[in-house]
Every structure is written in C-alpha cells, then in structure tokens.
C-alpha cells in the first residue's frame, strides 16, 4: 500500500484539464463506486473544488442477490465503496433514489425495444434520459455549479464561440463519447470530465497514489441491471411468450430454412445460434448471418455476409450538441459517424428533417447497421450530435 500524501502529489500527466483550478467552486460528482468516478472526485478535490459525492441507486438487486451481483454497478457494495472513497477524501456523500424512473425509462424501454426487434443501448438511454437530467436537478438543489462524471471524454469550454465542446478522450481505447451525445449544450457548459485527459493506466495509478480502496476493483463491462443470467433470460422472465413468438428462418428470397425461438434472441450481424442451419442445410449456410427481421411475420432473415453491408439509415430523437455553423442544413452536413460503441467512424452525409430525424448516407457501405443503436456524429475529435437508428435503407435491387 502506498502511503503517498495527496497534498504533495502532482498528477504525472499534467494537462489543461487537470490544472484548471477549482477555486472552491462546488461540484457534484456522480459516483458509481468504481475506480473512474472515485479518481474523478479525488482529482477535483486536489484541484480545489468543493466536492459533493452522489450515488444514484438505479436498480435494486435485493439483499438476496448480494452475492450474485456483488461488486457490480448499483449494488449495495458499490454504494458502500463510493461512501468509503468520500470518507477517505473527506467530502459529503449522498445516495439518491432513481429506481422508479430507471425502471420506466431504461429497463422497460430495454424490454420494449427488443420486442420491437431492435437492439437497444441502455447505457446511452440512461445517460440521455436519466443520469444527466437527475444530476443537474440535484446539482441545482445542492447549489453546485458543476456536475462531474468519470467518463472518458473531454469537455472544452470554447469561450470565444460561447459553446462547450464534447471531445474524445486521449485514450482511444477508453473513449466514451459515443454514450454522451444526448447531453444538452446547457448541461455541457456545466460538466467536468477530467479523466478524458488520462490514459486508463494512469487513472489506476492515481487511485493507488490517493490510497483509494477501489484502485484494484475490476471495471464494469456488462449492462448493470442484467446479472449472470444474461439478457435473454432477463427478457424471457419479464415477457409473456405470446409477445415473443417463435417463427421461421428465411433467406432473403423467402426460402424457409429453419425455426427460431423468438426474434429477441437475435441481433443484426449475429452468426451464433444459426448452427442448426448448417446441420440441416449443409455447407451452403456456413457463412450465413442475421441480416434483417420480418417483423410482420416474425421471421428471421439470414443471408451471406455481403447483405450486411448497407449505406443509408434513418435516425430519430436526434440531439445536436454543436450544429456546424457553416453548413447548409439543406445540403447536408459532411461528417463522420459511429454506429455502435466499438465502430470506427466512417465518412457520411447527414441530412436533417423536421421531428428531430436525419438521413445518413455513408460513403462506404457499413457492416450491420442495427436499429436501436445510437449513431453519433463527429467532426475531427468533437461530437456534434447523434440519434437513435430507426431504419436501415436497403437498395431496391436486393
């Protein structure tokens, strides 16, 4: 155990983000109990902010599940870890109850989206619909000027333009901007994300140097409300079989090649679970993937990989953080777009419509554009906006 004294500590990767002085300004730090938000709180404290730690209780796993869910997001253990960090750095700590709204806006949405044959991203939904709304409301109640989170992203205040800019983290492996496109400009101007200036390894090192008990805690990777049971069991426990009917598996030309146990078990681009085709139909199906859903007849459409590649999509619920001023909206915005969290952005043209929807046309066809996922628009390293993929447009010839 390191016995470093935080008052004499200077962060090794000193950058503009870390040297910005807090001057006693009050900041609400959203604390999950993980290493990232813990270091965020400690960092801001050393920078002279008056830190208030807040943990959002989103999902009640119940005492009986304490062992099974131990150490995961939202569990009692996480809440206690966050509390211990706040004790260590001597800042107030509060737990707020957001279970009802989380159930409604995230969990119910998650289930509903699968029943609509989409593949939802609950983390984006949580950030967009709950986390930041709630945190800013709490921040106002507690007279906090800023809200800080442990996300790997950089928020830059562009004083000249009078806007805040959401930029990628310097560690490309950890960048989380994809999950944050739903922030409003007003919120962004009051947001601090100091970890965007650090590589992950440095953050763990900082946690050790600050003497935080969470320094060696594993990162959370999965969806916080789904345990070891997996998402399929989670859905099947909550949805009557009538709402997730079985159906046939077809090729794109309509040939029936098998049966499936509910479309919610599949996602676009998936190959797993199609082995039965191989067993029945032989080698010709070896490289088949899920390429589409026939939602009217509850059929699963499979085909060779090339059918996964398409160029166009429609996205809805679009939020613009910084609409490029020089662009003519009617001609479209040229930018790069990411269609899932681990996708490399690709060049595209975004045409805006009313009702917050957009048409996106990629220069090159992209693999497995999936309704329900977010599409996030970038110019260089900056997120300019994003939305939720509603439809994939296929060339008529197929």
């Amino acid at each position: 155990m390191t016995t470093s004294n935080a008052t004499t500590y200077t962060p090794s990767g000193q950058s503009s983000a870390t040297s910005r002085s807090g001057h006693g300004k009050r900041v609400l730090v959203a604390m999950s109990g993980g290493v990232d938000s813990s270091v965020t709180a400690a960092l801001l404290k050393t920078q002279g902010y008056e830190v208030i730690g807040v943990h959002m209780q989103l999902w009640n796993h119940g005492e009986a599940n304490l062992e099974r869910m131990g150490g995961r997001c939202c569990s009692l253990i996480d809440s206690n870890d966050a509390r211990r960090v706040c004790d260590k750095i001597d800042v107030p700590y509060y737990v707020i109850n957001a279970q009802d709204v989380f159930q409604e806006k995230v969990v119910d949405y998650f289930v509903h989206e699968y029943l609509e044959n989409r593949t939802p991203n609950p983390c984006v939904q949580c950030n967009t619909k709950i986390k930041f709304n709630y945190l800013f409301q709490k921040a106002d109640e507690l007279d906090c000027e800023f809200v800080a989170t442990g996300h790997y992203a950089q928020v830059e205040q562009d004083e000249l333009a009078g806007v805040a800019r959401l930029k990628k983290a310097i560690d490309p492996q950890k960048d989380q901007t994809y999950f944050l496109f739903g922030l409003t400009q007003k919120a962004l101007q009051r947001t601090l994300m100091p970890l965007g200036a650090f590589p992950k390894m440095a953050v763990r090192k900082l946690a050790e140097e600050y003497g935080l008990a969470v320094a060696k805690k594993a990162d959370s990777q999965e969806i916080c409300f789904i345990g070891t049971e997996g998402y399929k069991n989670f859905l099947e426990e909550r949805v009557t079989p009538e709402l997730r009917p079985r159906g046939v598996i077809k090729t794109i030309d309509g040939t029936i090649v098998g049966e499936h146990e509910g479309l919610h078990r599949y996602t676009i681009g998936q190959r797993k679970g199609l082995q039965q085709l191989l067993e029945r139909g032989g080698k010709q199906f070896e490289d088949y993937f899920v390429v589409d859903f026939d939602t009217v007849n509850h059929s699963l459409i499979v085909g060779p990989e090339e059918l996964l590649y398409t160029k166009e999509l429609i996205a809805t619920e679009v939020n613009w953080l910084n609409f490029p001023k020089t662009e003519n909206a009617l001609r479209g915005v040229a930018c790069r777009a990411r269609i899932r969290s681990r996708h490399e952005e690709a060049e595209c043209l975004v045409t805006t419509f009313e009702n917050n929807s957009v048409h996106v046309e990629f220069k090159e066809a992209q693999r497995a554009i999936t309704p329900g996922q977010a599409v996030v628009f970038y110019v260089d390293n900056e997120v300019i906006g994003g939305g939720f993929i509603d439809k994939v447009i296929r060339p008529k010839t197929v």
């Binding site: 009692l76 206690n80 260590k88 001597d90 800042v91 737990v95 409301q137 109640e141 507690l142 003497g211």
Partner: protein, 397 residues
C-alpha cells in the same frame, strides 16, 4: 488525504433519530471504563467482581422502573440489544406461542408502526397468521375505536406506536386500552419515542408489553428494553440463562448502566415546558416565510410531543432538502433510509392519505432540548433558501 475543509459543527435537529448522550449517562459509565483492572465483569459470575456488576445492573433496573411509573416492578424489565429487538421479542413472543399450538393468530397493528414492527407482517403471514391494519386519519391519529371492526376470535395481539417518530403524534392510549381490555387481547405498545417526552405510568396503564430504546433518551445505542406486565408470559427469542431465561447473552453492562442513569435524569414535564414553545415558534416562523408558502405541517392538529415538526413542501424532494440542509450545516431527516442510504417515501405519510409525491417531500425536525433563538431563525433562513432553490430547479427541469 489532507485538504482540510473548514466546516463548522453542524447543528443537530434530529433528536428522534438519536439523542445525544446525557451527561449523567457519561458520568455513570466513566468509572467503569477507567477502572484499575480494566474489567467489565460478567454479572453472572459468583465472585466479588461479578456480584458488583450484578448490583450495577440491579440498580439500573430500579432507576429505569422508577422512571416508568410509580409501581413498575424492576424484575419485569428485560434488557435487549435494541428497540428493534425489543419490538420483535414482544411481538413474536405472543404470536409464536399461538403458532406453536397450531393456531393461526391474528394481529392488529397500525400502518405507522416503526419498521422493526412492520417487518414482522410478512413473517406472520408466511406462517399462516392474519394481519389487519388500523386506519389512520389525515392528522396521523390512529383510529383505535376501529379495533371493534377488525377484531376476530383469533385476534392475539394489538401493536400500537405510542408516539410516532416522524410526526410526533401521540396515540390515544386510554381509548386503546379500553378496547383491548374489553376483548382481553394482549397489547403491545412501542414507547421508544414516548419515553422522556411524556410522563409515563406503566403500573396503572394495563398494557402487557411495552418496548423502549436506550439511545432515544440519551443512553448508549445498543440497549433496548421490554417491560412485561406481571402475569404475561414471555417466550425468549435468544435462549440463555440471563434475564431469567427471557433473553440470553451476557448483559451489556455499559448500555444498562447508561440507560439507568439517563432514565433517572428524565423529566418530561420540565422538558416539554422548555421545548414546546421553541417548536411552536419555529413552526410559526416557517409559516410566515414567503419562500416557504404552502408548507404543510403534518399532524399539526393532533396532540404531538413537544419537539417534533414534520414539514412537507409539495413538489420538492425531502431527500434533496436533507442533503442541502446538511451542506448548510443543519442535521434533519426525511422518510426512512434503507441499508444503502436510499430514501423511500414515508410510510407514515402514505398511511395518512398523502400521495407518493407528498410522501417523498417531507422532512422531520426534532429538537433535542433548548435551542437559542438565533439558531432556530438561522435554520428557518437556511430552509427557506434551499426550498426556494429546489422549487426553482424543479420548475426549470
């Protein structure tokens, strides 16, 4: 981590959660902690050390009995680890005896009982027993006359909280006892918030089981008490020879001694005379603040103990107010917190007919004793500021 934040000591307005240790209690346990041999003897031991400890326990029991009324038998007091254990011992003792005989006992209680009592509702239902709740009116008064509607031949027990911890509303005990005596039902009273706040005379009262908690009267936490009417059998939960076989486990000597000293020091009449005008003043100051317009005072028209003030601010979360007041240097509480610290809507206010939104909007202020007037005014200032801010942030959401 160093970085000292200068923070003045917060002002404590949460007596109902736990009162500060009474100087008399501290004085009583100090010699035990400073003894030359460093020994807290086991009262069950035969030797001189043990006999001394046994005498301390007996003396504490006598002081406690005296504070509970003129003719309370010290031998009918059973020490437990907490008010929670006291409640569960009293309740399970009655119901388990019936269950063991193969009965399906029926239990009548109010929905505004302490959580430690309500926890046993599921327990009884799972074992085949029945549960009925007494109605509560909009002022937080338990409608004890309704026992006649709820009574069944198999009704074994009535449990009622004497003074509600959130609103401070006092139950109508004489009317209650009339109902239970007429029907020969065992009566359990949860007196945790009544002790020290109301003059008690258990000897003439006629309740069968009355429960208490140490830290509510300025004794140590970790000590509770059941007072048993002579002739009422008590079936222990924890088996052992201590407490005449009614509660096993080596006696909590420090807790018992502190409880004896604190009990001896109680003077509910004088305390009420000191505290009541202060609470009433705070209440009227709050009423007059323009920023606090629309405040609802829960239980205002019911008889209340002197120190408790339950306030609702429609549209504002009580948890946010508690946090903001904490940051402003005032300790108050809201609802009841679960193990993670999350606040649930107040079950007491829900039972009083409030909506869920109203039930999450309440805070409780409970005075320990005398408070200088500027402190109360300072609190009203802080409250006004945080409520105005919270209403503004709710409006801009």
């Amino acid at each position: 981590m160093v970085l000292i934040v200068e923070r003045r000591t917060a002002i404590y307005l949460d007596a109902n959660a736990g009162a500060p240790l009474k100087p008399a209690a501290i004085a009583a346990i100090r010699p035990l902690l400073n003894s030359e041999d460093g020994l807290l003897p086991n009262p069950s031991s035969i030797h001189a050390h043990g006999r001394k400890a046994k005498r301390w326990v007996a003396e504490a029991r006598e002081k406690i009995a005296a504070s509970l009324g003129s003719s309370v038998d010290p031998e009918q007091l059973v020490f437990t680890s907490s008010g929670t254990e006291a409640n569960q011992l009293a309740i399970r003792s009655v119901l388990e005896a019936r269950l063991e005989q193969g009965g399906r006992p029926h239990w009548i209680l109010s929905p505004i009982e302490h959580d430690s009592t309500l926890q046993l509702v599921d327990w009884l239902v799972k074992r085949g027993g029945g549960v009925s709740f007494l109605p509560v009116d909009a002022q937080g008064r338990i409608e004890v006359s309704r026992i006649s509607d709820l009574f069944r031949p198999e009704t074994a027990l009535v449990s009622v909280v004497w003074v509600n911890n959130e609103t401070g509303v006092i139950a109508d005990i004489p009317a209650l006892i009339q109902e239970t005596e007429r029907r020969k039902i065992t009566l359990h009273l949860d007196a945790a918030q009544a002790w020290g706040k109301l003059p008690l005379d258990l000897g003439s009262l006629g309740a069968d089981l009355v429960t208490f908690s140490g830290h509510k009267i300025g004794a140590l936490a970790g000590i509770g008490l059941v007072s048993i009417r002579r002739g009422t059998a008590l079936h222990g939960l924890i088996r052992g020879k201590q407490e005449k076989g009614r509660r096993g486990g080596t006696e909590n000597l420090l807790g018992i001694v502190s409880m004896g000293a604190a009990a001896q020091d109680l003077d509910p009449v004088a305390w009420t005379k000191r505290v009541s005008p202060l609470r009433d003043r705070l209440q009227s100051v709050i009423r007059q603040r323009p920023g606090l317009a629309g405040v609802q005072i829960n239980g205002e028209e019911a008889p209340r103990v002197a120190n408790t003030l339950s306030l609702s601010f429609e549209g504002v979360g009580g948890d946010g107010l508690v946090m903001a007041l904490d940051l402003a240097g005032y300790s108050v509480s809201a609802g009841s917190a679960c193990s993670s610290g999350v606040l649930e809507p107040s079950h007491v206010l829900l039972a009083m007919g409030r909506t869920k939104a109203q039930a999450v909007s309440a805070i409780r202020v409970s005075l320990v004793d005398e408070v200088p007037l500027p402190v109360l005014d300072g609190f009203a200032d802080a409250l006004e500021k945080v409520v105005v801010r919270a209403r503004k942030s709710a409006a801009t959401e």
